[in-house]
Amino acid sequence: MEYANLRRQAASLKRSLFDQGYLDEQFCQVEDLQDEASPNFAEEVVSLFFKDSARLVSNIEQAMEKYPGDFNRWDAHMQQLKGSCFSIGASKMNNECTLFRNSCGEENAEGCRRSFQKVKREHAILRQKLESYFQLLRQAGPARTATRSGGK
């Protein structure tokens, strides 16, 4: 069945996201909140995350440009982004955010710039992978229960 194949592909993609460290257990906690009332809850949260995180990344970029050396400001912006990453289980992004904040603490501008490039890269990669994941789930449709075939 096509549905089963798509579900398998989605499961395999999700497993690889965990194995490669893009996601952690917190993502499962978000998926576990799905129910009949909110069957697409995880996708809604992820969609909101990418909308919000794009804004936060832009804020950080502008802050680094307009306020050179203002590590407290840069850190405050990154703290927000890190919080969101943590909440959805975006593990690699979360780690890069932490490295950025460490560089802020050391007042290491070059370190911040390098980390920020990594944050942006991980953001783009995760977005692409999760879009693929949810597209597979949408194509598969809602989970079906097995039914007995034929006979009385």
């Binding site: 978000v30 909140l33 927000q80 890190k82 919080g83 959805i88």
Partner: protein
């Protein structure tokens, strides 16, 4: 089902400027049939109290613009709101002391697990039911 005596839902105020966190925690609160209001800053939360709104529980993030959670908790208590249960939330794991000093009843690191939230909501219900007896 998380409801007070006589079936009224637990009234929760969630104070968090992070949209993702607010969505996730609101959904968790809905699982326990709480009636949830969301404020994005400490000031918005305080304004709700000034308007005379009543809540059984406040779940308050620490770091927010305009007015942070610690200041909001202090001011809510200073208004005489001593009965409402206030739980501080933060990804900053060692925020217990600052929240308790501000007047919170408890601190839970983010993200709050469902079983932890369940226990907290049940405490609120039990207290409410005992008050009404």
């Amino acid at each position: 089902m998380a409801s007070n005596a006589q079936g009224s839902p637990v009234k929760a105020l969630l104070v968090d400027d992070t949209a993702v966190d607010a969505l996730i925690l609101s959904t968790k609160l809905r699982k326990f049939h709480c009636e949830t209001t969301v404020a994005k800053t400490g000031k918005e939360a305080l304004d709700l109290f000034h308007e005379g709104k009543k809540f059984d529980i406040v779940l308050c993030d620490k770091d927010m613009p305009i007015m942070n959670g610690l200041e909001a908790v202090e001011k809510i208590r200073a208004m005489g709101e001593i009965d409402v249960k206030i739980v501080g939330l933060s990804a900053d794991y060692d925020a217990t002391e600052v929240f308790m000093s501000a007047g919170a009843d408890a601190f839970v690191p983010k993200p709050m697990k469902l079983d932890v939230l369940s226990a907290i909501i049940q405490e609120v219900i039990n207290k409410k039911n005992n008050t009404m007896v």
